[in-house]
């Protein structure tokens, strides 16, 4: 016999007042029935979590019957060739643990839909997959005929990082075979590309074919254990890459000093030995101040600079390019020139008679007086005295010197950057400065050193079949980045875009300058969105397709660490959801290119990894399908992985080019500081909008994914967004915790409640990004942080084809005022 207590109370007692003592005997009616699941067999699957937190955690998924009932961290195997080089700990965080809630979420899109009301009205009618894919094929065909092939944009894919259905995946293949435009290589160009761009200024020549338009490489996170000092630069690693924090602690136990540079007192800052609350956006000036101290006090690594960098190369005083013999004599060669202090003569850099190349100084070279690149760096940075640096950055002069000492007196020194550093108009310049400082310290290509944005270089070392997968029969997509897409939609520049297909990408709220984005999306003739939840973007779509979560399809996760994680289909797709690969196949067939989507996911993975091909790269030598699907094996690489360990740099000179010739037109050949484009007191707007507006990440979601999961909401203010503001800024606005505030600038506004905290620098406010703004779910009272941000791209980045434009989310000014609740 079973009686619902609620029924009992309603019937016999009534009201909640009676919820006191005396009814507890009721429980005897309520003993739970013996668990049905106890009799069902439990199956275990190992998979990789392909979300874009970049964690690439391995998940051990428990399945009972047809249901996923538990997820925990999975184990990691040795290298493919059997060598066991490191103990890679099982890793998972609160987001990963909550994934079954995501898969079974009531917010899931269950069926294909067609819009029936006005765009954004949320009125849809259910249709079949056949009807949906016919609609897509017909509309794409019509629009391509009328406006050109590239007027269909196969949009980013930033929410997933797996191989087939993720930022480097099948969407590019589909775009190629229909001739469409596509964007966001590696998902970076919505705000994460400034750092990668700088790597391609300094460490790669982005125009060399072997660099494929721009690369990015980082130290395996386990290498932090080898550092003597760790600079967590704008990197709230303890919230955003939680499992990596373990290694930071291990390194700290080994005596490494941990520095957090951040305008906010984050859990990372609290866990660091030194917190530096910098004025946001002025990091380049701080780095320059540190470098100036290092140079003035001759604490740089001269041998390293001479051997591995362009430091000794002479620079043409007029063209500012590296001076070559041909500039001096007609018919002279094209080699770099240096000055030999031994016999005080100018020689080519590889002259066998070269004894002692000069690091600093200016020298007569033919008709010119030419300085070394190092001298130009020293000259440029000489103005960054501790005092000036302090004035710009709000970091005290003593602290500037202390940071410089920490960096050069502890070797190796690791710098780990958060993407917060990329969320600035001149984020590329900041990373250029960091790489320059790392060169001064002799820290690039060194165990425990380096500048790392994220771990992982699989693209270049394992996926040898990827170019053919992307470009079958030589067919190529037309690149169009997210930062350029709105102008393509609204103004037809650089070419018209009249239709778009988004996959697990919430462009309508996660892209900067949201009001512009909404205008652009609403101007489209046809919009398709595949997603697993009804996102703000899906709400605007003409056709909505129900996508799978990572548990419902086969794929491969091979990014952001050095392991290959096969992702088996753990459960059958729920409701009518389908993998995007299946969706592409249906649409491709109806567009006459079905032959490119006939294989199974497993077959594509085999091709891309060149399994069974004797010409497969060394990194995957010995890989078989049985091995790939039986655990997570590491590429055949030394551990921990250290990029540039061989000190070979794929630049024009083969050296570290902290002096960047191709940036001369942008007056950025040296990392001289420039003020933020908007968030600067020099900006006239500052009078009207005196607060720097950050929209940072929280541990409770990954961008907008998981923002509505009950387990994560209940420990995160019920899911309700808030504005962090320092009591100093609050008191001048008569604000108290809980007051509703309007945050606004010329581009838009949003409303949330204020939370007063000392953990944020005065003059800076923060509202965690990624809360939802759909018809059904609102995590902010009104609007979204991206109503306030802008799309002003830094033209310097355009020299790197893969990372040409960056959304500067944090380079943003606002005003805050109290409003009625």
């Amino acid at each position: 016999m079973k009686i619902e207590r609620r029924t009992f109370l309603q019937g016999f007692v009534g009201g909640s007042v009676a919820l006191g003592l005396g009814y507890s005997g009721l429980r005897f009616f309520e003993i739970a029935p013996a668990s049905a699941s106890a009799t069902l067999k439990e199956n275990l699957f190992r998979t990789g979590h392909n979300t874009n937190c970049d964690g690439a955690c391995g998940h051990l998924v428990h399945v009972v019957g047809e249901k996923v009932t538990f997820i925990e961290g999975a184990s990691w195997g040795p290298n493919i060739d059997g060598q066991h080089l490191q103990n890679f700990k099982s890793r998972i965080c609160l987001r990963g643990l909550s994934q079954m809630q995501n898969t079974y979420s009531p917010d899931r899109i269950k069926y294909p839909y067609r819009r029936v009301g006005p765009r954004g009205s949320g009125k849809f009618e259910r249709i079949t997959w056949d009807e949906a894919t016919t609609l897509i094929a017909e509309n794409f065909n019509n629009i391509q005929t009328k406006h050109g092939k590239e007027s269909v944009w196969i949009a980013p894919y930033t929410g997933a990082l797996s191989l087939l259905e993720g930022v480097i995946g099948a969407s590019f293949r589909f775009a190629s075979v229909i001739g469409a435009s596509a964007g966001d290589f590696e998902g970076d160009n919505e705000g994460d590309s400034a750092g990668p761009a700088a790597f391609n200024y300094v460490l790669y020549d982005p125009n060399a074919p072997s660099n494929a338009g721009g690369l990015l490489d980082g130290h395996e996170y386990t290498d932090l254990i080898n550092a003597k000092v760790i600079f967590l630069w704008a990197n709230n690693i303890a919230e955003t890459s939680i499992p990596d924090w373990r290694t930071v602690c291990d390194a700290r136990n080994n005596g490494a000093k941990v520095v957090s540079i951040d305008p906010r007192y984050t859990p990372t800052a609290a866990g660091a030995d030194l917190w530096v609350p910098i004025r946001p956006g002025t990091d380049t000036a701080l780095i320059n101040g540190m470098m100036n101290w290092i140079i003035q006090n001759k604490r740089y690594n001269a041998a390293y600079l001479l051997r591995y960098s362009v430091a000794p190369f002479l620079v043409h005083p007029k063209t500012k390019k590296f001076l070559k013999p041909k500039d001096i004599n007609q018919g002279g060669g094209d080699k770099y020139l240096v000055f030999d202090e031994h016999d005080r003569r100018v020689k080519v850099f590889d002259d066998p008679g070269l004894v002692k190349p000069a690091l600093l100084g200016s020298y007569q070279a033919g008709p010119f007086v030419a300085a070394t690149a190092m001298q130009i760096l020293a000259n440029t940075l000489s103005k960054f005295t501790p005092e000036l640096t302090s004035k710009i950055t709000d970091v005290s002069p003593e602290k500037v010197e202390q940071l410089a000492r920490l960096y050069v007196e502890n070797s190796p020194a690791a710098i780990k950057c958060g993407f917060g550093l990329s969320h600035w108009h001149r984020g590329d310049l900041t990373h250029q400065a960091l790489l320059t400082m790392a060169t001064l310290g002799g820290n690039i290509g060194i165990q425990g050193g380096g500048v790392t944005i994220m771990s992982g270089a699989l693209l270049s070392t394992a996926f040898s079949g990827l170019p053919n997968f992307w470009n079958p029969d030589g067919k190529k997509w037309v690149p169009l980045q997210p930062m350029d897409a709105c102008d393509a939609m609204l103004q037809g520049k650089p070419h018209p875009v009249r239709a778009a297909w988004f996959m697990i990408d919430n462009y309508a709220q996660q892209m900067s300058d949201r009001n512009k984005v909404l205008k652009a999306l609403n101007s489209l003739d046809f919009l398709v969105v595949s997603d697993y939840v009804l996102s703000a973007t899906a709400e605007l779509a003409d056709v909505v397709l129900p996508a799978c979560t990572y548990l419902e399809k086969s794929d491969l996760l091979g990014s952001f660490n050095f392991y290959l994680q096969y992702m088996p289909k753990v459960i059958e797709p729920l409701w009518e959801s389908k993998s995007d690969l299946d969706a592409f196949g249906m649409v491709a067939k109806k567009m006459g290119v079905g032959q490119y989507f006939q294989k199974t996911p497993d077959d594509y993975i085999k091709e891309i990894l060149a399994i069974g091909d004797p010409k497969a790269p060394d990194s995957v030598r010995g890989l078989t399908w049985e091995k790939l699907t039986s655990g997570a094996f590491r590429l055949n690489l030394p551990a921990p992985y250290v990029p540039f360990a061989d000190k070979k740099f794929a630049t024009k000179s083969g050296r570290i080019e902290f002096y960047v010739e191709s940036l001369i037109p942008y007056e950025q050949e040296i990392c001289d500081y420039k003020e933020p484009v908007e968030a600067s007191p020099n900006n006239p707007l500052y009078k009207k909008y005196p607060l720097v507006f950050l929209s940072t990440h929280t541990r409770f979601r990954t961008h907008s994914q998981y923002a509505n999961l009950p387990w994560l909401k209940e420990i995160n203010n019920g899911g309700e967004g808030f504005l962090e503001i320092n009591p100093v800024d609050a008191s001048s606005r008569a604000l108290e915790t809980g007051d509703v505030v309007r945050i606004f600038n010329d581009r838009g506004e949003m409303k949330v409640r204020a939370r007063l905290t000392e953990a944020i620098k005065p003059g800076v406010v923060n509202c965690y990004q990624g809360g939802w703004v759909t018809k059904q779910v609102k995590h902010y009272i009104e609007g979204h942080p991206n109503n306030l941000t802008h799309q002003i791209a830094n033209p310097a980045q355009s020299i790197v084809p893969n990372f040409p434009s960056n959304a500067a989310y944090y380079d943003c000014l606002v005003q805050v005022e109290k409003v009625k609740a």
Binding site: S37, F70, M100, P267, G271, D273, P277
Partner: protein
């Protein structure tokens, strides 16, 4: 020799990520609003106020910008050797195993909630009505577990019983670690035998002067906190 199960939580490593709490919630199928293990915000090496709602305002440090302090204190049943909850239970539902785990026999508990009033750590929860869950099906361990003959775990606790951390005895008895220990991404939890002076746990407590919460009450918790100690700490 009898074991005495214990956990040390290293507050040097803990970053308040709540992974332990969500792992606990998941393996034990805890209803919404109930956390057997919750993460409180505290000053380093001070007890977090367990009943002050402000301690749930995570990441809010003490002090004034830029001289701030912040530490996190994951808090669940302390499995006290001198457990007030065990003493006040009028029906012997709360009991201690030989290995020190304090458990609730769900078939014996009468829901009087004396234990909830007695626990100085706020570690116990009580369901007044049928729990609301995030899933439509049971997640986690998924079966009843009996220690001796006593029902110490069941996926959906009946209405009107006290529930709390079980030390994951169903896992421990199978040779595994409690879920919070296994899941901690920072490696901040050490599980082991307090009676074994050579265990990693005993050594860590010994060397780092592990601290017990509200030790002055004489509850003798088997959960220890390794203090925040930063030899390299520099002023901001």
């Amino acid at each position: 020799m009898t074991k005495r199960l214990g956990i040390a939580i290293d507050q040097n490593r803990c970053i308040g990520c709540w992974t332990c709490s969500v792992a606990c919630k998941s393996i034990n199928n805890e209803p919404l609003g109930i956390h057997w293990n919750r993460v409180l915000t505290s000053k380093p090496n001070e007890n977090a106020p367990t009943r002050d709602p402000s301690s749930r305002a995570i990441d809010v440090p003490s002090g004034e910008f830029p001289n701030l302090q912040l530490a996190f204190q994951p808090t669940s049943c302390q499995h006290c050797a001198n457990a007030p909850c065990e003493k006040v239970c009028p029906v012997g539902a709360t009991f201690r195993r030989d290995d020190g785990a304090i458990l609730v026999d769900f078939e014996r508990c009468i829901g009087c909630r004396y234990c909830i009033a007695a626990c100085p750590y706020g570690a116990r929860s009580f369901t007044w009505e049928k729990g609301q869950y995030a899933h439509e099906f049971q997640v986690g361990y998924g079966q009843d577990y009996r220690s001796g003959a006593r029902l110490v775990f069941t996926p959906e606790r009946p209405v009107g019983v006290a529930e709390k951390c079980t030390f994951c005895v169903e896992r421990v008895d199978a040779g595994k670690e409690p879920m919070c220990v296994e899941a901690c991404p920072a490696g901040a939890r050490i599980f082991g035998d307090l009676e074994d002076p050579r265990s990693e746990l005993s050594i860590a407590i010994q060397q780092q002067s592990g601290r017990q919460l509200l030790a002055e009450l004489g509850t003798e918790p088997n959960v220890f906190y390794l203090p925040v100690a930063r030899p390299n700490k520099m002023r901001p």
